[in-house]
Amino acid sequence: MAKPLSLAEALRAYTQAPRGRRRREGLARAVLALAGSLSIGITLLIVALFVHGSLPFLRTVPLREFLLGTRWAPIHEPATYGILPLVGATLVTAGIALAVAVPLGLLAAVFLSTYAPAGLRRVLKPALELLAGIPTVVYGFFALRLVTPFLQRFFPSLGFWNGLSAGLVMGIMIIPYMASLSEDVLYAVPRSLWEGAYALGATRFEALVRVVLPAALSGIGAAFILALTRAVGETMIVALAAGRTPTWPPDPTQPLLTLTAAIVNIATGDHEATAFIWSAVFAIGLLLFLTTLVLNTVSYLVIQRFRERYA
């Protein structure tokens, strides 16, 4: 049996315990808040780092030449820093990727959310998630060693490195991403919209095309933008399969150099840490970062608003 407390001990227990708990509570809150704001810290750090790093570049190279120049030759003498070939290459590969991923991903989302029986859905959805887990370097290998040789049978003029197979494989990679984003959006559309359409005599297809898809349009648009940023930021597939030659105008059947591949190209080259060329990496990185920041923020807010509207 426990010894009864003396009055002094009981008093001490009464006054200290809550303070200890309160102190622990405050400490926990502070630590957690710090961890929570780390993402803000990282983002600010990135912005500061990239702005600071690209300052020498932006001071030296006229913005006009950088953004509108059509020759990218940073290690030539004299060096030219026209980014248009890189932007063009990025748009070409991303365009091919989206041409594959958007229709297929959207159809897959529609199938999974409206047509597939529950049993089939339970199998297909994890399978698609598994595809999303395949590393991009593996997709790069597919593009370089399997898809390009296969396409070369039909188009002998296709280069060993080319934007076409990089884009196609990137599209396959993005399908599960696009599918899961659009499926979330389709799920957020309330049942009452379906039921209203059915009540008016619409078939499932008519309800989908006339009512549900238009209602989900803004969300699907946001999913499209997210898929686009994914394609623009993709690195390993293009670094492996698209080649390392900046060309203008970009031709998908020939080697291309995308923005991300250009970063890889310089970063894996043997340059001094203080070399001017690094500031070009930061300038491209800044451009990529700002683009994805804007696109991501827009689509995030659109999807949030979309969910709230139907919540």
Partner: protein, 469 residues
Amino acid sequence: MRRRALGWAFAALAGAAVGVSLLAVALLVLITALQAGPITAMRAVAEAGISLSLRSLEIPGTREALTYVPMAQVAAGSPAASLGMARGDALIAVAGTGVDRPSRAWEAVGRAPGGRSVTLPVVWLPRAEVTLGGLRMESRNGETRVVLASPSAAAREAGLQPGDALLAVGGIPILGTRQAWEALAVAARTHGVPVELVLERESERLTLFWDPTRQAELTFVRDPLRAWWSFLTTLNEPRYPERAGLLPAFLGSVYVVLVMAVVALPLGIAGAVYLEEYAPQNFFTRAMEVLVANLAGIPSAVVGIIGLEVFARALGAGRSVLAGGLTLAVLILPIVIVASREALRTVPRTLREAAFALGATRWETVRHHVLPYAFPAILTGTILSFSRALGEAAPLLFLGAFLFVTYVPQGLMDSFTVVPLQIFEWATRPQDGFAAVAAAAIVVLLSLLLLLNAGAILLRNRLQRRWSE
């Protein structure tokens, strides 16, 4: 009726979209796995002691170049060495197949009928000193010629004498001392033996039919299990795909992901707890949410620059395991936060309210009730973020790329490579055999990820069941 048909057609189309996507990737994975097949035969040749390389010889007077396959290494004490093969010899044929590139030899060993162990005839041309002996260039009547200064025992046996000028072999003009032997190797492969050797002795042309090659039976052990095991457990020999090993990259991956986990998991889960349990709904929190979503969308190449600039250079970690782990942590942090928040959201409100009603503070509620309840889901999300990190190559490209790491990192500050980077490096190399090795590494990586994902799902099911009992 038409309306229904249209609907069904669309449903079929949508179903086909899912099927095509899944099938396309399944097919690509399958073909890649098949491409890894040759490593069994490659290892068999390597275990017999022979590492091969590829050289080409321009044929004078034509634009043609013919290839031959020198033995870049013959392991001491190996079966090949005991037959007298040595570094610098040229492999001419295996099992009757002319070897014009290394893959031909591997194919011949792989295809030969028989069981696990096959004994095949191997034809090779010993290196120049053994086959020909000492050569020198000599000018006679304004023409430079390759003259046999001190014929080797084998050459003497074939009837060559000191002072013979070598003019052509198998129709290939002989122009240099090194090229004489190379021409012999190419001629032996393309025309077969004996080769036709044209020489000049005391101003007279002679034609000699000569078989300079040697032939022996060599036993190759084709054991897929052993081949894969040694691929997984040996250090990498960067020059020869038949001796490529995944061990440094594999352990590098494990170490980097461990460092990442130590950093990213506590921070990510803590951040999620703050956002979900503590944060007031205001502009600041909303901005934080947008930024977390954004961080997850930053191109991984951009994250790589941060890793190089902040961790490797500014913090002085260098291109090390530590810098790699921290870089991956930046990449994975938003994923851990999002997954943990979703897990926390599944905790019923009533659980929290019950704890509060009993006088628990917020931290006590979180620590004793919310976190344990959400634990299985957090664990699953965490393991999935691990598998993402294991496959990530782009951000680490800046920290370890193209460093030939042939050893296992011993500490946090050692340089490293990871499996995806090793795949990238192998996939970019044009030489024979590296595609097969890259495919083998892909098979290993995908199996590992599959195992990890399956483990996550299994763990979740088991833990959840126990919790609900």
